[in-house]
Symmetry: C2
Subunit: 235 residues, 2 copies
């Protein structure tokens, strides 16, 4: 069960003002928002909502990370997106009122700010800026999805992994030593495969001297080779 946090709305204002969604909103609106917000904490693995649940609102991550994912009947998971600090998600269901199209759960202990649907819609009417921010967010998500479909259907697992690792490398300052930001099991779900296969692909890349693995530490031995394998197109 999520723990509602007794936290003063005032403490939330600076945080909200820095999120992309609420950037540029006047102070008094942020205050209103902050009073509506419900801060919740989740344990690792705990579920925020299931696919098909009625959409009651949307979320902003304050700490930790949340995965949004689809589940097959056989239990296999496909992660659609992982959201970290300052990211917001489930705005579409909050906005259009249809059920959540995917499930969400914490992949590590997390604190999120929940905004109920109705007040959010009201605010949206009063604040054209917010509509623009929402558009930006939707546009980002659409590009993400188009990229995801490309990756998952037109590339094989080694390519997807190489891609992922190279992105991670950039995020972490382009050194050859990188730290996985997901457990291997979760990484498999992110890449649209299963842990066994991921493990084998890591083994294969090791054999090819492309990288070395030590727990969640990956040493990229041959970045050029990985790039060739990844052979990305426009994201």
């Amino acid at each position: 069960m999520p723990q509602p946090q007794p936290l003063s709305p005032l403490d939330l204002i600076p945080f909200l003002g820095e999120t992309l969604l609420f950037a540029g909103l006047p102070e008094f609106q942020l205050l209103k928002l902050a009073t509506l917000a419900i801060v919740q904490t989740y344990d690792k693995g705990e579920s925020l909502f299931q696919q098909g649940d009625a959409a009651t609102g949307f979320f902003i991550v304050q700490a930790g990370r949340i995965k949004v994912f689809k589940v097959a009947q056989d239990g296999r998971e496909q992660i659609l997106h992982i959201f970290g600090e300052g990211n917001h998600f489930a705005e579409v269901p909050a906005w259009d009122g249809h059920p959540y199209p995917a499930a969400a759960a914490a992949i590590e202990p997390a604190t999120v700010v929940f905004f109920p649907r109705q007040p959010f819609l009201q605010l949206l009417e009063q604040q054209p800026d917010l509509a623009i921010n929402l558009l930006k967010s939707f546009a980002r998500h659409l590009r993400h999805f188009s990229n995801l479909v490309d990756t998952l259907t037109l590339h094989e697992v080694p390519t997807r992994l190489a891609n992922y690792l190279l992105h991670l490398r950039e995020q972490q300052g382009s050194a050859e030593q990188i730290t996985l930001d997901l457990s291997k099991g979760q990484l498999a779900a992110r890449l649209g495969t299963i842990p066994e296969t991921l493990s084998r692909v890591f083994a294969k890349l090791k054999r090819q001297q492309l990288l070395a693995v030590n727990g969640n530490q990956i040493h990229l031995l041959n970045v050029e080779g990985l790039k060739q394998l990844a052979d990305v197109d426009i994201p």
Copy 2:
């Protein structure tokens, strides 16, 4: 090469007013739009733009159908979306100014209305209603994508085909006799597979007495069986 059509702007107004994107706009705005619009016709197979092209504007389909798709280096295609009469597409690139993330081509002779980016952005600033319509459109696309990823990664080809056929059946009035709206080759690309595999899956479903195929006419012999195979979840 697309043929720009010499068509009076006035003729376009009623059409534009009925599209979801421009629904509810005042007449004088529609007129402005109509003067900006460039009507183009494309032959079957002709390309509107390539993935990575600079986004110069967006499109509304007036007649025929357009596919938006990703291409792998080996030439394999994944269709992301098919747009028919009254549908609009590529609003994201037109809006955010980044390159088109996928390619577009006509799957049959088509007439589209092209709107250049800059005037569109100006109009958007003047018309908050348009921003709302755009949000609706983005939201629809996002749900479509989340569904697409689910289908492509969590279900096998026979399931995907059964799903497709059942949707088609609903569209066509729920009779057992349906007409494919795509060539089998394009259907394969839509379902994330190749023609050979699709052909074999059709053969398999025939063998299981689930359907009968005659060209683009499909007779659904056992709708319940297909539903079981499709075993859809929330779209």
